[in-house]
Amino acid sequence: MDNHLPAQRENFLKGGGEMAELIASINWAENLLGPISGWPQSLRTTLSILLHSKFPMFLFWGPHLICFYNDAYRPSLGTVGKHPGAMGSRGEDVWPEIWHIIKPLIDQVLSGGEATWSEDQLIPIYRNGKLEDVYWTFSYSPVHDETGKPAGVFVTCSETTQKVLSLKQLARSEEQFRGMIEQAPVGIAILSGPDFIVESANETYLQIVDKAEKGFVGEPLFAGLPEVKESIEHLLRNVYNTGQSYQGMEFEVTLNRYGKKEKAYFNFVYQPMRNANGDVSGILVVAYDVTNMIFAREALAHNEQRFWDYINASPVPIGIYEGRDMVIKTVNESILRTWNRDASVIGKTFREALPELEGQPFYQLLDDVYTTGIPYHTDGDRVDLMYNGVLQTFYFNFTYTPLKDQQGKVYGVLNTATDITKQIVAQKKLEVSEKKFRSLVNEAAAPTALLHGPDYVIELVNDAAIALWGKDKNVIGKPLAEALPELASQPFLPVLKHVYDTGEIYEGKENIAWFIENGKPKQVYLDVVFKRLEGLDADGSADILVMGYNVTSQVEARKEIEENEYRLQQTNQRLAMALEAGQLGSYDLELATGTMQCTAQCKANYGLSPHAVFNFPDLMDIILPDDREYVQQLVAQAIKEHKVYNSEYRIRWPDGSIHWIRASGVATYDEAGKPLKMAGVTMNITTGKLAMQRIQESEERLNMALDYTETGSWDLNLANRELIYSSRLPGIFGYKQGDEIDFKKLRAHFHPDDLHNVVEKAFEKAMETGIYFYEARLLRPDNSTRWVRTQGRVIYGNDGRPVRMLGTIVDITEARNEQARKDEFIGIISHELRTPLTSIKGFAQFLHERASEFKDEMSVTLLAKMVIQVNKLNKLIQDLLDVTRIEGGKLKFHTTKFNFGELVHEVADVMQVTTDKKIEINELDQDLMVTADRDRLGQVLINLLTNAIKYSPGQERIVVMVKKMDGQLVCDVTDFGIGITQENQKFVFERFYREFEGEANTFPGLGLGLYISAEIMKRQNGKISVKSNKGKGSTFSFSLPLNND
């Protein structure tokens, strides 16, 4: 026990706190360490440091690793556990649970001498009645004893359990936070820096903006969402710059998301995030997509509005009353109209609003519905309402429907009603309209019938229908099939059944129908309407109104047109065939590419086989160089001016031969006016062209000849009066070559007297005969008068109509002057000749008479012959005079009315004197009267008889026949002489024509008789003609209009 007391006095324990007291109290004698007095100085010093330190310290000392610790360390041993037993105990006994951990550390320190350091090491220890996870930061360092060897391990430690656990908790809560953020139903994103780099964004946020994490997170916000930059960048910037958070409610942005651009609405917060320095380093974005909510709200509002609109607009009167008193909550305009009240009734009770219903059952009915919850419905109830101060009667269908709250308790009544006053009134009017309908049917212009029931009994039918059917009034009351049995084989009855069953209207256009009328079928085209009438009759069957418009004539007219169109089409096809036969090739040129589609004939025209590849450049290649540019120009021009392209050009075939092609085409254009294609035809015109060349050559020769003879040639297009003329022609009209002249201008130069009488008449005649001839005067620009002779012929088109006229014109002024001088000369001569002839003839006749008196037979005969010869001579002179008069247009006529038969006899008598042939007169019609120049007709007869005598040598008779034919007088003079060849017959009426027979046998005469006769007949509106057979004789005939007076 003495060990105990001295311990109290040990210095190193003084002021060592509670643990020093504990050390002092321990009976160290019984301890492995022995009494304190025996402790080495190194232990004492170490304990002194340990006990006086406020930092938790522990010491393992000696071979048994006896444990010491200070007051600061004690809490780590817990409240119930190792303390105070640990003090002075063996380390192995104190720390069994961790001995396996710390023993190696202790050994390491004791053997190696190096101190250890462990931080936040989990070293679970038993304390507070249980094994606790305790975290330590500690250092084991050796304590050397007096021998300089490590004798103990000094442990400085602090329990970091609290720190570690709070760190762990922090980490866990952070993880939870992230998880929460991650899974939050709101969008959360962290934006950092002034560029608002998306640091992180949760699933919801990505979903809201419809982005994948990759490519969005880690990038500036507006790189991913450029569409919202305008609307939110300034907000973010403001938060970032000011540090003030921003909250947005139902903020509208436009987002490109879910594959479209759409409006979205967000509630969101921008919360600034600060760094350690308190500066804003980023922004926390919390956003909630309220788009659907807003849409839903809008839709709801819309629906609600619609509901109210519907109620208000509803033609059905609607009212809602609440409470037992039936306070009017809602009414629409329709019910107000029905009540004849205004909106001021809202808020009043039903009874206040409609006091006039007192005494009627409605208050009670409403109350019953309210109290029982059973709806009330009625049809056609009578209601008396105040209208403009007057109580009036109305009829309603109405319903009282109880309104129940969620508990099923009635809180009001919904009242709907229909004013059927009008229907009831209308029903009464129906009977009247039924009558009107019947009269309408009867009076309808279109065939109309009313068929009743499924058997289509003819209830009503108008006259037009009866006429169409070819029946009578007896059809009324009969089923249609019985009244018109012919319908059985026609399609109308099934159609009627369909209309009857379904109520669909049937309208048929141009239906062929046929009816039996008087036992004969007649076919018509009808536009028909079958309509089932609304409503059923009392017997439950329906009526069908049947109307048919007879369109037969229209249809037939149209069919005729269609037929004609068909024929036209046929004609067109034939035309196409004709084109084919005409060896027309056709092509289709793609202008952009130069690609050509050519028909086989087209290729043949170019000397190619049907399969040869042939495009526009190929065409250009084979066109002769001289023609190429010209063709290109024409094509370009036609395209540019939207005109038809026409050209003729020469090509070289693969075999080297040269051919002429005529080509034409028309371009097509797109809507913008850009030319796309040119399509057209080609024709090989080489043959015609060569012929044309030959014609041109011969024409040139002709023109040379014409020029030489001072004859102008011309070619007049009759359609447009275009005149083509040779170089000589202008001079004839007094123009210089190169002066501007045309048909109209030239025409104005004809002498006014001749233009109508000569030129135009000649033209008319040319249109009839094809031959154009006249001689007329021109007044030249220099006022000189010239005579021209025009000769030409008409050229006809394929359709036989005159197309052109071509011919020559020659100045005959000189010739004519020559003629005039000649005529004058002849005139003078004949006059001068005739004067002596008159006296010769007179003397001869006088002598002839004297000789007769003196019976001098010889003188009589000779003087008679002399008179005849003088007469002949006189006639020749007379003919010459007549011809000159005809030529000069001076032949005069003295018309009288006379008996033609008498003239014939007179002339025949005179002529009979001169011939031995018998002149026979065959007067088939007597006393034919004509109005003409008697002497001139006599002259014609004399001429014809003279010829008949002259050209029938050896024949014994001449026959003169006079007859009436087709209102004309006809006189034939027939001889049986030499006749005239067919060829010469057309010349016999020409001037100076004489018939020859062989060289030796010529006939005397000037050849003027028939010419003069023809002129005479012409001038008296008569005609003269000849029929003759060579060697058999001739018949000359002339005819004149008979005078019927």
Binding site: H831, G842, F843, F846, H894
Partner: protein, 121 residues
């Protein structure tokens, strides 16, 4: 019995001679003139006047017109003679009673003389 007097004017002396022979032979007294001017100075008025139309220096139709329009002259038949085809028109124009176209037959001359002097006989 006085002979009927026929006045003939023609510038062709052979015609004058021919007509004279023909009519003298038939018992007429013929007074001839180459131009018809002597007609105005005649002491006795002829029964028939024959006038050629175109005579050198005078026109028978003008003389005829004078005879027919001058009331102081006794009314006498006038016949125009001519080779002109238009003799009928000219005769109508100057009021002549008849025509004798050349060349004529002698019987025509006799017939005319007889016709126009018959009333005078």
């Amino acid at each position: 019995m006085t002979k009927k007097k026929v006045y003939v004017a023609d510038d062709d002396p052979f015609i004058l001679e021919l007509i004279s022979i023909i009519l003298n032979d038939k018992g007429y007294e013929v007074i001839t003139s180459p131009d018809g001017r002597s007609l105005e100075t005649l002491t006795e008025v002829p029964d028939l006047i024959l006038l050629d139309i175109s005579m050198s220096g005078s026109d028978g139709s003008e003389i005829c017109k004078k005879i027919k329009t001058n009331a102081s002259l006794p009314r006498r038949p006038v016949v125009l003679i001519s080779a002109n085809r238009n003799i009928q028109e000219i005769a109508t124009g100057c009021g002549a009673d008849d025509i004798l176209p050349k060349p004529f037959d002698i019987k025509d001359v006799i017939a005319l003389a007889e016709k126009y002097t018959a009333a005078a006989m």
